[in-house]
């Protein structure tokens, strides 16, 4: 009897919901060692030797090169995958054909494949002794261990991301909009440009940001296909790994801070610009 009256009073103290602050506090507490503290330590260690040290580490030529290379390769991979995702989403949501589901599964596959396997697969295809590479090597064409190889790896591992965001929007888009445009006199291209594309704007932007963020951080496949040559084919994540191995923690840390801030920025845009992206 005493218990049954006691429990409700513990949940609600004079109209105050005790569970609310307790559960919020619990959530934050659990996230502490898992997410907050690791991120915080990057910033604490990175700046512990003074900001000028941090700045020097950041502006070291190899570091700047690694960052630039990461941005450039991710940029081109993003451009390709957004265009491809648009095209694939259009075909796969507009037309029903034999093998359609098989194609959808195949496009989505790269997210499930370990990145090291992806890099290895690319090596086996394009490498000097690979299925295709062995015919290219005598012509003096070297695909692997170049910036191009990094783009290929990025394209592979981020393949389904833009597609996955764009296709659902395509699926839910009313066909009558496109039909209306056609009866008004627009060609397929005009309809796509004036009617379909504006409705996809939000999906395209978030698909691109997702792809870019993922590509910038790519490590497993890049380390296999790039050759990891400092100043030539070393991306930012590879630079962090290399410097860490050499014991230059400050150098690794500086780039780590930049990458962490960068992904934080991208996800803030994705989260807070939702309304803007889907504005009517």
């Amino acid at each position: 009897m005493a218990m049954s009256t006691l429990v409700p009073t513990m949940r609600h103290v004079r109209g105050f919901d005790v569970v609310r602050p307790l559960s919020i506090g619990m959530l934050v507490f659990m996230m502490m060692p898992l997410v907050f503290l690791p991120l915080a330590s990057i910033f604490i260690f990175g700046t512990s030797n003074g900001l000028d040290k941090f700045w020097a580490a950041l502006t070291a030529p190899e570091a700047v090169f690694a960052l630039k290379l990461s941005m450039a390769t991710s940029f081109w991979a993003t451009i390709f995958n957004v265009l491809f995702g648009l095209f694939a989403a259009y075909v796969l949501s507009r037309y029903n054909f034999w093998g359609r589901n098989a194609l959808i599964v195949t496009i989505s596959l790269p997210t499930a494949i370990p990145t090291a396997v992806a890099g290895f697969a690319l090596l086996l295809l394009w490498g000097p002794y690979g299925t295709l590479g062995r015919f290219l090597a005598p012509q003096g064409i070297q695909v692997m261990f170049t910036a191009g190889a990094i783009i290929l790896a990025n394209v592979f591992v981020t393949f389904p991301l833009a597609f996955g965001v764009i296709k659902p929007v395509f699926d839910t888009m009313s066909r009558s909009l496109e039909e209306a445009s056609a009866t008004i006199g627009a060609t397929r291209w005009q309809t796509f440009w004036h009617v379909t594309l504006p409705s996809l704007r939000g999906a395209i932007v978030s698909g691109a940001l997702l792809t870019f963020a993922r590509a910038v951080g790519e490590f497993g496949s890049t380390i296999l296909v790039s050759g990891n040559l400092a100043g030539h084919t070393q991306t930012a994540p590879l630079y962090i790994f290399a410097k860490f191995n050499e014991g230059q923690i400050e150098a690794a840390n500086a780039i780590a801070i930049v990458l962490a801030l960068f992904s934080f920025l991208i996800f803030s845009v994705l989260f807070f610009a939702r309304d803007w992206l889907d504005v009517d």
């Binding site: 909009l177 627009a186 004036h194």
Partner: protein, 402 residues
């Protein structure tokens, strides 16, 4: 060179023929199949310049498919679509120049009202000045000047519909096609918009084809109405024609309420049970001894307490009143008709009421409506016995003979 081409072109154009009203839209022998199921069979009709035709049918009757075939969004299996004398059956939708007002209006959500209206001209690469002027004219026509900068989601259903109409009028369509234009609106708005659209169509003089399942809407909107049932046209005619002279039982029952009774042609007249109805009907079509159906509207039923029948009224039988209800403007009476023998044509037993008393076994329910003055002058009560006569009716073949 250019002048020469122009001359030749002018030469080729046949002189306009002022005689005979021009057919704005013709659908000739159109049929459509989806796989093995036939959805349209031999659909043929014309729409004259400035005319409004309503395709009336239940859902699944194929009326929307007809519209989509005219618009070029669907290909017919056989048949032709002709717009102002030009066959367009093989042309894609964008080259036909028809205006479709979709059920959900299909306004472009990321374009303002004026951008929506100007879309047809923009993709036709018209000069900006021309586009601006046309859009202004149309905004005035549909009374949406103050909403020009708004997006479709900020407009009411009626306003969206007007934008959709203006958007098609911008490129001077051959014909306007309305797909269930008032489906998503409440009754009050619906009635107002119907009047607005009629007025607008009269102003712009563009032929229109409406699609609806609402018979009241069909009668009010259409210069002519085509009743579609299971992929074929049951009847096409003016609202008055199809209401007063339905060609088939389907038309009679789909378009408002109708009572259907079986009768037989005997001695150059109609016999309902033992009652003889002396009335004119097509004796060529209905031979001696055939079973026919008598179809009549509830408002054509006259109820009296005496056996006396006025001229122009045909006495049917006596009936017992089962139910009386007031439906606002009129009184609705359900009666159990007492049929005196002669059951040879009673095929349609869905109307029969199963009661325990043997004498009321061959009995049918009919509905009568009485205008308020009559209802108040001659009060009727449930279970009362009255004499039923009808003032006007249509004779149709019994479905068995078909």
């Amino acid at each position: 060179m250019k002048a020469k081409e122009k001359l030749i072109e002018e030469f080729k154009v046949p002189p306009p023929t002022p005689t005979a009203p021009q057919k704005a839209t013709s659908v000739v022998g159109v049929s459509k199949r989806f796989g093995k199921t036939s959805v349209l069979e031999n659909i043929t009709f014309d729409v004259a310049e400035g005319e409004a035709l309503v395709l009336l049918g239940a859902s699944g009757s194929g009326k929307t498919t007809i519209l989509r075939i005219i618009a070029g969004l669907e290909q017919p299996y056989t048949g032709k679509v002709i717009l102002h004398g030009r066959e367009v059956t093989e042309l894609p939708a964008r080259e036909r120049g028809v205006g479709v007002i979709f059920q959900s209006y299909a306004l472009f959500p990321k374009m303002t009202v004026e951008k929506n209206i100007g879309y047809g001209l923009r993709i036709r690469k018209r000069k900006r000045k021309v586009i601006r002027e046309t859009v202004n004219e149309l905004l005035t026509l549909v009374q949406l000047e103050e909403h020009r900068k708004k997006y479709p989601s900020q407009l009411s259903g009626g306003q969206q519909q007007r934008v959709a109409i203006a958007r098609t009028l911008a490129y001077k369509p051959e014909v306007l096609l309305f797909d269930e234009p008032f489906g998503a609106l409440d009754t009050q708005t619906r009635k107002r918009l119907r009047r607005e659209i009629r007025e607008l169509l009269r102003k712009v003089n563009v032929p229109a084809i409406f699609i609806t399942h609402d018979q009241e809407e069909a009668l009010e909107l259409g210069d002519r109405v085509a009743v579609i049932n299971k992929g074929h046209i049951e009847q096409i005619g003016t609202p008055f024609e199809i209401y007063t002279h339905p060609a088939t039982e389907y038309v009679a029952t789909f378009l408002g309420a109708a009572n259907v009774l079986e009768a037989v042609v005997r001695n150059s007249g109609l016999e309902f049970g033992k009652t003889r109805i002396a009335a004119e009907f097509d004796r060529e079509r209905f031979k001696e001894g055939t079973c026919v159906k008598i179809v009549f509207r509830p408002e054509d039923v006259f109820l009296s307490k005496s056996e006396f029948v006025k001229p122009g009224q045909h006495k049917l039988s006596t009936a017992v009143i089962e139910e009386i209800s007031f439906v606002g403007a009129y009184e609705r009476v359900r009666l159990r008709l007492e049929k005196n023998g002669g059951d040879e044509c009673a095929t349609d037993d869905q109307f029969f009421l199963t009661t325990d008393t043997p004498e009321s076994q061959s009995v049918k329910s009919i509905i009568a409506t009485r205008p308020k003055p009559e209802a108040t002058s001659t009060r009727l009560r449930v279970r009362e016995r009255v004499v039923v006569s009808i003032t006007s009716f249509t004779v149709l073949p019994s479905s068995e003979t078909k």
